[in-house]
Subunit: 415 residues, 2 copies
């Protein structure tokens, strides 16, 4: 099935809005086996919309128009489509009632302009909008489909998932598709690929794997295509098992949970508390942990020891060791972790000390060198990582690596 | 001048890449007085590119094609354009030499495929790429312009600024335009508009003002259009002066500096150090301050007092006050600021304690209630803010408000 997308709105052409509807629809339709041939961004002008629709219908079996279905005078998509088909617009009683109900539920009167949203071109089906007022509109002659959707991203997405996809599926136009995400931490893309080894026996048009890396986390997106849900789930299960056999320790979750969420859950389950001593990350790691609602159950707090005197005075780092080995060293990281655990009376102490850059590097300890310390009742130790020349990226990668160290220690039974 | 943009690349159609080139170009050209009529996203296919180019040339005086100029076999824009014009491609010696130099400078051999990038359709001018290998290409017959640009955003932007705009300007096709950004902190959009009052005597097609808010910062973008640079700068100066008279204290910088940068500069100039006590922000404020390279000159560190015992034991908050007034209170915020200043031996102590949500609110102190404490040699005090129901937004707005409090204290001569 071939498709053309017409995305409508002056705001797209003057760059006020980035066209995320186009990329979302492209990704979604591609996954369903629909080939998007062309995407056009158009102004809110009736002749332009009519010309583009004629051209799109000449080249594609599926034409999706988005935007310009709102209540204001510059929303002209509905009118342009009616003119293209040579049909009139009529008020849909069901749609009007739904809109009136939405306002009544909020105890607000419906603005008169909103009646316009209930106008439907003759011959079009109404696709009720589960999250907004303007409904989707569907036309088909058996071989071609024309769909109108509101431009608000949440409404467009809900209508595609809940109304458009099921109708296309009924027509047998879509492949059955299931996706699954595995998230990894503490490993780079190329090393992960090496661990997986040759996947050619697994991968095909029916089973695909995408690597989506960001900030030290790699999202593995598994996509299975086929005939029945059961077969797809079974194929994804088998593939996930294979990937876990190869690199299970790096996979921290199935789904989209953040690392700080998963670490938080592990701490909560075990009834453990944590305290952090941060130098080069400047509080970022604790901030991430406390992004999670309910984190006060396990985060006691932290000490941001940005200068060495704070490391000595607040974290009891040995001045002689600090002088001899430097602030970015195994011993200091371990002592910081031990110190903050003791000071803040936590079960676990986590410490990060490194050279974020851009300056401060030496031949021995270049920018991007980071030591991460971990302390619990069994003692303290530290691991080293080498990251990048970029300051902000180093902060982010260090925070991720530190959280991942906690995860691994807890998996190994640390208490 | 009317324009059509053809953005080329399979990655756009399958949603792998969001088309930020289209929005950037739309914004830029709109500012220059060029009307973008249509943007088309196309696959890397020669017939599709040729059809779209024919249509674009029939409707616009300026056609910009981006993408598909790289060295790989699926980069076909150059070939499609040559076929459209019925001309042959020839190797441009200057371009080839520049590419070879780039590789030589990195002591790498030039991959053979890169020769392709030096191919130029007959009749096209080469626009040397200041930041990459593939040059821009320019064709004009006196009334119409066709420009080819690489799809890498940094390269496309540099070529537009440095090569395309000057050439269009020479043709008299562009309005003279100057933009200026003022950044505000500590004030909402509607309150700011009220302070500015009626601006209708100022604003026109020749002078525009856009409000661009994000995370407690509002960027005010002033745009002046006209004939000479001097006139434009004078108009912007006069308008900026007017805005500063109305709301000067809220404008923390001209340009794009972050609030943490400006506060850091102020501390450095005055030779002052700062320490932070963070509760609901969990380290975010200190992390922002330490995002700035060189911040170790003025950031001593912080104490993240996520639980009350850390507030008592590490920040010497009075347990009786903590019990009587609660952790989110004026007294506790001031005591935290005082405590961290003393403990970490800093000139300034800054504290944040609030209810980030989603739970923990009470009728007296709903979610979003935040106290910000400030301490220096003159004593300690605290201010209250009410933010939103959203946890992450509250963290971010609290950090911004705390940094802004430091800025205002320093402006008032605090030491």
């Amino acid at each position: 099935m071939k498709a053309t997308l017409l995305t409508i709105g002056d705001e797209l052409l003057i760059g006020q809005t980035v066209n995320t509807n186009a990329s979302w629809l492209g990704d979604r339709l591609h996954g369903l086996g629909v080939e998007v041939q062309r995407v056009v961004m158009l102004a809110d002008e009736q002749p332009a919309i009519m010309t583009a629709l004629t051209q799109a219908r000449a080249e594609s079996e599926l034409v999706v128009l988005s935007g310009g279905l709102g209540p204001t005078h510059d929303d002209l998509t509905r009118e342009a489509v009616a003119a293209h088909f040579g049909v009139s617009l009529g008020e849909d009683a069901g749609t009007l009632a739904r809109i009136q109900q939405r306002y009544a539920a909020r105890k607000q009167p419906m603005p008169v302009a909103n009646r316009k949203v209930a106008q439907v071109p003759e011959g079009f089906d109404v696709l009720p909008n589960p999250v907004g007022t303007a409904p989707g509109l569907w036309w088909s002659d058996g071989t071609q489909v024309v769909v109108l959707l509101p431009g608000v991203p949440s409404e467009l997405r809900a209508l595609i998932r809940e109304a458009v996809e099921p109708r296309l599926r009924e027509r047998g136009a879509l492949r059955m598709v299931r996706q699954r995400v595995l998230r990894t931490a503490g490993i780079g893309e190329s090393t992960l690929q090496e661990l997986f080894g040759d996947l050619s026996a697994w991968l095909s048009q029916q089973l695909r794997l995408a690597y989506l890396p960001a900030d030290g986390i790699i999202r593995l997106r598994l996509t299975a295509l086929g005939d029945t849900e059961e077969a797809l789930e079974a194929r994804l299960d088998a593939f996930e098992n294979h990937l876990r056999q190869r690199a299970g320790a790096y996979i921290y979750t199935r789904g989209e949970a953040l690392l700080e969420e998963v670490v938080g859950e592990m701490l909560k389950e075990r009834g453990l508390t944590i305290a952090l001593a941060e130098s080069c990350t400047g509080g970022l790691t604790t901030s991430r942990l406390t992004d999670i609602a309910g984190s006060s159950a396990y985060v006691r707090g932290g000490i941001i020891a940005y200068c060495n005197s704070v490391k000595r005075e607040q974290l009891d780092v040995d001045p002689a060791v600090l002088k001899a080995e430097g602030a970015v060293s195994e011993s200091v990281a371990a002592q910081m972790a031990h110190g903050v655990r003791h000071k803040l009376k936590a079960d676990i102490g986590l410490a990060i000390t490194g050279i974020a850059g851009p300056s401060g590097g030496t031949p021995d300890k270049p920018v991007g060198t980071v030591w991460i310390g971990y302390a619990d009742s069994a003692g303290a130790h530290a691991i080293m990582r080498h990251f990048t020349p970029d300051r902000l990226l180093n902060k982010s990668l260090s925070a991720t690596a530190a959280l991942d160290l906690v995860r691994r220690q807890l998996l190994q039974g640390a208490t």
